[in-house]
Symmetry: C2
Subunit: 391 residues, 2 copies
């Protein structure tokens, strides 16, 4: 029984369009969400009158029938694809087939996601179909509210994440310190080496990662720096892992901060403050509260101790230089936003809470858990100690 | 010194547009190709008057300046992004900033790739900018012709691929046969287990993979089936690996067929024929020849022995049920197409040649190498024995 999407249906009514149309490959999260089908090549998903239907190539037809959430699967050849493809570029022929597929379903107007290809939109418009892009990002809002099945998937990925974090912690623990940097098995222990071991640990649990952060020293203060080279002793090492399960395609996300050796008083102070901010966020988190209110709770803690935040200075690179959190699901960054201007939270939102403190040139600390918003608070999907991990 | 793209420039002249505009994240191959910049979040790349310029968020600015192929990097805040973002959804504010960025560069009309987001196209049009999508896929054609540096990157990935294939071959070789299936270390050897070892071998060489095929028995005949469960003895096992290098982002692609135990006479015949087709393709391959002519050479071999091909029956699932090959680069499937209607080959095209024979319910065999098209033939980037690997 395929899921139905009342919020999507009422959006279509409000915007007076006949259907919601996606064209993308199965890696696109909107497409996978609505179709339940993952494919390497482009296909089309239509949501109309509460039902999902697909338009796929002949190559995909049998598998799409078997694997997708719907029985309503049509193939290109039903709409004279081959005849069209002899007269023009086959990629363009597919767009005309999409127009015929819509006409056949009695669809005269569609809402499309912001990312919908301009090429197809223009061809459909030429064929007399009204194409309106989704300025309210309604499908993003629908996807943000997770079902129990989705939450179970995310939790499964977070379990794998914790295993990988434990593998990383074990490496740091077994390392020795020489000349201020970590060594293991008579070699310098680098960010790259730890990252490789994390990825292997994830693989062994059917998870993949495109990247992860293992950053010590100054690199830990640069948001988009994954870290490289020797890991420093007596200084914070931020490990931020955001794996995706290969079977379910759901992400998880977690960060811990480690020190090999002796943390300085300053780092211990930073970490205590980050932990206080983390607790303030959790105390605020519940359905009906805005993402901005949770971010405010975190900013309050840091600002009270004199640290800049994006709320006081939107271009600061020191202090709390990012927002409190983001939704996690089929994308690693999705709605809602625990940030200034962040939207109202709903039960079933799965979000990170990840306060941190940084100083450019020195380093930084961060704690990140993954939680489900509930009517009266939250459920924490993360089972890993939240203290500064001194190893 | 950033590269220039004469073919792109002359296309802009022909279509009478001022620039080629991309909006996507750095995972988009067109965007990465033109900008030289890889980022998780969306940004904008403009090619105009032979120069590339970027529009990025404040978060990306420093790294984009350092890592991209151009010094012409602008940031959102230069175009009143924050003022706009207070009045509307920040995602929509970015689209208005893009319009201002174009106006500032004196751009009144742009060509965009087929995948360009409809949302941004519509906002730009509202702002008076003419947006035309690239019906000739010119950037795809530009990307298909590889520079020496790109060929070296692809070759590097193929070396890692060969290491991974050797790891897989070693597993099959060390396996024992019990009850018709492979066993290793007292466990049944499955597709999944071999796939995991391949992925680890790739990781150890800085390569990743999203999937790979390890398929025996009937699964080997189904094009999009990666294989699962116990590997069968005395039957062909198709291993098709298409890794991507994490540093350079270039793919490679190779397939070999293995038999643990005794291949039947029929499988040996299939393989010999596939190898003959492979040699016929290589004998045809050179600049100036069409992709269709190479596919014809392969189809001739199979059809002469009475096997169906897509040329004789476009919906066949038995026989040679796919086309001869495809380009490989920043995407694993890209131009040119060694297929019916395939375009003329140019020196610098990097293509697979991958003939195979299949029978639904039984299995299949395939050989796949990766080659550079040259003026008088080809250079083979693959160094792995092409015989049926009986182990």
């Amino acid at each position: 029984m395929p899921p139905t999407y009342p919020r999507l249906s009422s959006h279509l009514e409000q915007t007076n369009t006949d259907g919601y149309l996606i064209e993308a490959d199965g890696d696109d999260s909107n497409q996978y969400y609505l179709s339940g089908y993952h494919a390497p090549d482009d296909f089309v998903t239509l949501y109309a009158d509460g039902d999902v239907s697909l338009l796929v190539s002949g190559l995909e037809y049998t598998r799409a029938k078997a694997d997708s959430d719907t029985d309503a699967v049509r193939q290109l050849s039903e709409f004279d694809y081959w005849e069209k493809a002899e007269k023009m570029d086959p990629r363009n022929a597919r767009k005309l087939v999409t127009a015929d597929f819509l006409a056949d379903a009695g669809i005269e107007s569609v809402t499309v996601p912001a990312s919908f290809p301009t090429s197809t939109a223009d061809v459909l418009r030429d064929q007399g179909i009204d194409v309106v892009w989704d300025e309210e990002y309604v499908l993003t809002a629908v996807r943000a509210v997770k079902s129990e099945r989705e939450i179970a998937h995310i939790e499964e990925t977070q379990r794998a994440n914790e295993e990988a974090m434990a593998v990383a912690e074990d490496l740091l623990e077994r390392a020795a310190v020489e000349d201020g940097v970590l060594h293991l098995d008579n070699e310098v222990l680098t960010s790259e080496a730890v990252r490789e071991r994390i990825e292997i640990a994830l693989l062994e649990q059917e998870c993949g990662m495109s990247d992860c952060i293992v950053a010590s020293g100054a690199a830990a203060a640069r948001g988009h720096d994954s870290g490289s080279g020797p890991l420093e002793a007596n200084a914070p090492i931020i490990i931020d892992i955001f794996p995706r399960h290969k079977r379910t395609r759901y992400f998880a996300d977690m960060t811990r901060t480690f020190v090999k050796g002796e943390p300085s008083d300053r780092i211990e102070e930073w970490y205590e403050l980050a932990h206080e901010a983390y607790e303030a966020a959790l105390a605020t988190l519940q359905a009906g509260v805005s993402g901005e209110a949770v971010d405010d709770a975190v900013c309050d803690v840091f600002e009270a101790e004199g640290y800049p935040t994006l709320r006081t200075d939107r271009s600061t690179t020191d202090g709390f230089n990012h927002s409190t959190g983001h939704g996690v699901g089929l994308d690693v960054h999705e709605a809602p936003h625990l940030a200034q201007q962040g939207e109202e939270l709903e039960a079933g939102h799965v979000v990170t809470v990840e306060p941190g403190l940084y100083e450019q040139g020195t380093g930084g600390v961060r704690i990140e858990d993954l939680l489900v918003v509930t009517d009266d608070g939250y459920e924490n999907l993360t089972e890993y100690p939240t203290d500064l991990r001194v190893v």
